[in-house]
């Protein structure tokens, strides 16, 4: 009887191992794209590199110029912090807190020389974008586009 059960137990262990593997991959890394955009009214139109965001930017804000200053791609695990340098001696700290069902919960903080100017938590679906704007930069402002890709 014991010998007969060995293949069955092996199969159970194999399935559990595969299932465990799937659980690990399900809790895998989350890709986050951070784009730093300079917005101003100095004239010059929209940077062609911002074609994906052009419609959103022009419908939301009244700036005549949008220029992509920097793009950073992060691949983070849950609770792993990523730091992205921003223009004006600022930095963005981003931490995926939880994921499931195609939704990611993310914490973001923006730091200046004097301390944190923003801390926020938000939930975003795959390929969803959140725009954080307002910090002054030269004659314009800085807009940070955070896009999550799972």
């Amino acid at each position: 009887m014991t010998i007969r059960l060995i293949p069955l137990l092996s199969l159970v262990l194999l399935v559990m191992a595969i299932r465990g593997g799937r659980e690990v991959s399900a809790q895998g890394r989350i890709s986050i794209k951070v784009e730093a955009i300079y917005a101003s009214n100095t004239g010059g139109g929209t940077d062609p590199k911002l074609s994906r965001l052009q419609g959103q930017l022009s419908s939301l804000f009244n700036y005549s110029t949008y220029k992509l200053m920097d793009v950073r791609r992060l691949s983070l695990k849950i609770d792993e912090e990523g730091v992205v340098p921003l223009p004006g001696n600022r930095s963005l700290e981003i931490v995926p807190k939880q994921s499931g069902g195609g939704v990611v919960q993310i914490s973001v903080a923006i730091k200046e020389a004097g301390g944190y100017i923003l801390t926020t938590d938000f939930r975003v679906v795959n390929r969803g974008t959140i725009l954080v704007g307002g910090p002054k930069d030269r004659e314009g402002v800085l807009i940070i586009a955070i896009t999550v890709e799972m």
Binding site: V12, S59, S99, G101, I117, L131, G134
Partner: protein, 160 residues
């Protein structure tokens, strides 16, 4: 005399089957010339042997054969069936367990489910900004969330 009769009677079957030694054979044949009872006994042994030969070589009737074979078959089924029952149950159990595990394995895996965004694809849950003012709004049907920071000067909020 009585003892000799008893001894000879015991030897009669073996005599008939020609299994006696020469000495015993001579002794039995000598006794048979004088003993009527033993002669009768030998005849009855011969008659019984004839009957056994006759019926022993007879083919059973079809009906009798069917009855006997039915009994034998039932006996075989009971014995073999009992032997097969356990492996068959084990096999069914194993198949069921395998199917259950496959269903479990290929059922879409879900981590701790976050509630779906109620107002759109992006939902800002908490914002804190200091010393700047902050404005949060969704646009494009909720597909974009905007967090806008602005300077607060002399009690006036100057949105950018």
């Amino acid at each position: 005399m009585k003892d000799q009769y008893s001894d000879i009677k015991k030897l009669l079957e073996r005599y008939y089957d020609n299994e006696l030694s020469e000495k015993e054979k001579i002794e039995v044949e000598g006794h048979l010339t004088t003993c009527t009872e033993c002669k009768e006994e030998l005849k009855s042994i011969e008659g019984l042997s004839v009957l056994i030969r006759e019926y022993g070589t007879m083919e059973p009737e079809e009906e009798t054969f069917e009855k006997v074979w039915h009994g034998v078959r039932e006996g075989i089924v009971k014995t073999v069936g009992a032997r097969l029952a356990l492996p068959y149950t084990l096999l069914l159990t194993a198949v069921f367990v395998v199917l259950l595990m496959l269903a479990w394995l290929f059922y879409p895996y879900k981590t701790e489910e976050l509630p779906e965004a109620k107002t759109g694809l992006v939902v800002v849950e908490a914002v804190e900004s200091s010393p700047k003012g902050v404005m949060v709004f969704n646009a494009n049907g909720g597909s974009v969330a905007v967090i806008w920071l602005f300077e607060i000067e002399d009690g006036e909020e100057e949105a950018i």
